[in-house]
Amino acid sequence: MAAIELEGLTKRFGDVVAVDGLDLTVEEGEIFGFLGPNGAGKSTTIDILLDFIRPTGGTATVLGHDAQSEGLAVRNRTGVLPDAYHVYDRLTGRQHVEFAIEMKGVDDDPEALLERVRVADAADRKAGGYSKGMRQRLVLAMALVGDPDLLVLDEPSTGLDPNGAREMREIIREENERGTTVFFSSHIMEQVEAVCDRVAIIDRGQLVAVDTIDGLRDSTETGETLYVYVSDLDEGVLDRVRTLEGVGTAAIDEGRLRVTVDGVSKFAVLHAIDEVAPVQDFSVVESSLEDLFVRYTNESQEVEA
């Protein structure tokens, strides 16, 4: 059974289409990244999963339950870190976690949960005085109450410093190893890259790609870039390199050859270049997913424009 299944999901606010016919399946046990620029429709989609807002068309099924008509069943098994939430300023961190425990009808130890997200020191302070990062940790602790089968995390690393973001990823992995499906959104590719099994890229309410990280890399021409130092680099060498098999693009960049590899191994390309002009040194740069993300989201904008 799929953890999350969206079919033709559409949400309009007036004449603005926030989510436009989204079809998406997240399998049980996956860590799934939901990626897109700000305003792409990520939070709207998540809000529909949690029944904060009602779709204009299509259906959202979470853990086998319709998100709208059986929301209680969904939330019984789901831990949530929402976006743009606000804590109860006058209640302490511990009271927040105790509230979640009571609402979920379980008997978790609030201390252990607060310990796990590293806000135990501030457990008896009012949450209104917490920093953004502490609030984020506190709400994560609330999400972890009752060992949910699904974690929905909307921009989980917002407000966290690099250490905090790393700890967040560790918790995500630990939960996933217990069998929890994790669905989280982000507009920062590298966070998704570090933990996700699969990602979906959404832009302007539409899905532009769904694949594994490697799959996304492979599906775009900008796979890898080689920087090659050769003796006697000139235009003639460049022209001959361009004609070599497996060379996508080639250019002279700060006294080096910059070559993108297309369809063959790096080694084959290096070997071919070596025959044109002796190779002295080289380095390999994998295209960052950041580039890829920019590429996907910009392309679709150009299509629409």
Partner: protein
């Protein structure tokens, strides 16, 4: 049963609000001062025959009738609109509950806050009064306090219901104050205004009975009538008459009194003021995009 957990959390949250404690303090001080004034100079406060415990109750009723709506607005106007505006509603509704349970929990939690604050004020004020008078009518006191606390719960339902219809606290404030203005401050003239319009923009020589019913429709008139219905002997002894509304026009019921001119109708109206805003607030909240 998550509504109970929500109510408990809400109560815990709200009792830490300084505004609430300021309100309780004001009410306690005000009820002490006014009780003292009533006992010293009852002639000025509608008891020419001297201060009695019944007189004190009906005098207090005049104060609570105004205090409860204002306190309810202060305590409840942000209950749901504020959570929506800030986003804490997302924290609440991410948990395994429904909007109905969350709404019910809010009404109960805020009602508990009001009942608590009002209860403290009433016990202090009436206790002080009965000590000064040296008399105490336990049954009347209990009925009066219970009816007043129910009136507070009714107003919690009204204002939380209003708060549930919008995601903006400024709109919730406007709606709550508008409600107060129309149903509490202007309601004396509204029935006459309706009569004026219905009769073709002139006043008839006799006031029809239904005007009395309309004048009973405001929550605090219903509260007064309900108390008269619950304590008929005491009401008769102090001359409290729920029909003394209507911009100075004496509404005297005809010989064959229709059922709706009896004070018992106040109890029914009060129940409706609990149920209808609850239903409307729930309906609007349940259908909203948060």
């Amino acid at each position: 049963m998550t509504w109970f957990t929500v109510a408990k959390k809400d109560f815990r949250d709200a009792v830490q609000s300084r505004a609430l404690w300021a309100l309780v303090a004001v009410f306690v001080v005000f009820s002490l001062v006014s009780t003292y004034a009533y006992v010293q100079v009852p002639e000025m406060f509608g008891s020419p025959g001297g201060a009695t415990f019944g007189g004190l109750l009906f005098f207090t009723l005049g104060i609570t009738g105004l205090f409860v709506p204002l306190a309810a607005i202060v305590v409840c106007y942000k209950s749901l609109a504020g959570e929506r505006e800030l986003g804490s509603i997302k924290l609440l509704l991410s948990l395994p509950t429904t909007r109905g349970q969350a709404f019910a929990g809010k009404v109960v939690g805020r009602a508990a806050v009001l009942v608590f604050g009002l209860g403290v004020g009433l016990v202090v004020g009436l206790g002080f009064g009965s000590a000064l008078l040296g008399e105490l009518e336990v049954v009347a006191l209990v009925l009066f306090v219970l009816a007043t606390l129910f009136f507070a719960a009714v107003y919690a339902s009204i204002v939380v219901g209003i708060s549930a219809t919008t995601g903006s606290t400024s709109r919730a404030t406007t709606l709550a104050l508008g409600f107060f203005l129309v149903f509490e401050l202007l309601w004396d003239v509204v029935p006459m205004g309706i009569l004026y319009v219905v009769e073709g923009f002139s006043f008839p020589s006799t006031i029809p009975d239904w005007v009395f019913l309309v004048s009973q429709l405001s929550p605090s008139s219903a509260y007064l009538s309900a108390i008269v219905a619950l304590l008929p002997d005491l009401a008769a002894s102090v001359g409290a008459d729920p029909a003394q509304t209507g911009a100075g026009v004496e509404v005297t019921a005809a010989d064959a009194e229709p059922f709706y001119t009896s004070p018992e109708v106040g109890i029914v109206v009060l129940f409706l003021w609990f149920v209808v805003p609850f239903a409307v607030g729930y309906y609007r909240f349940n259908g909203a995009d948060l």
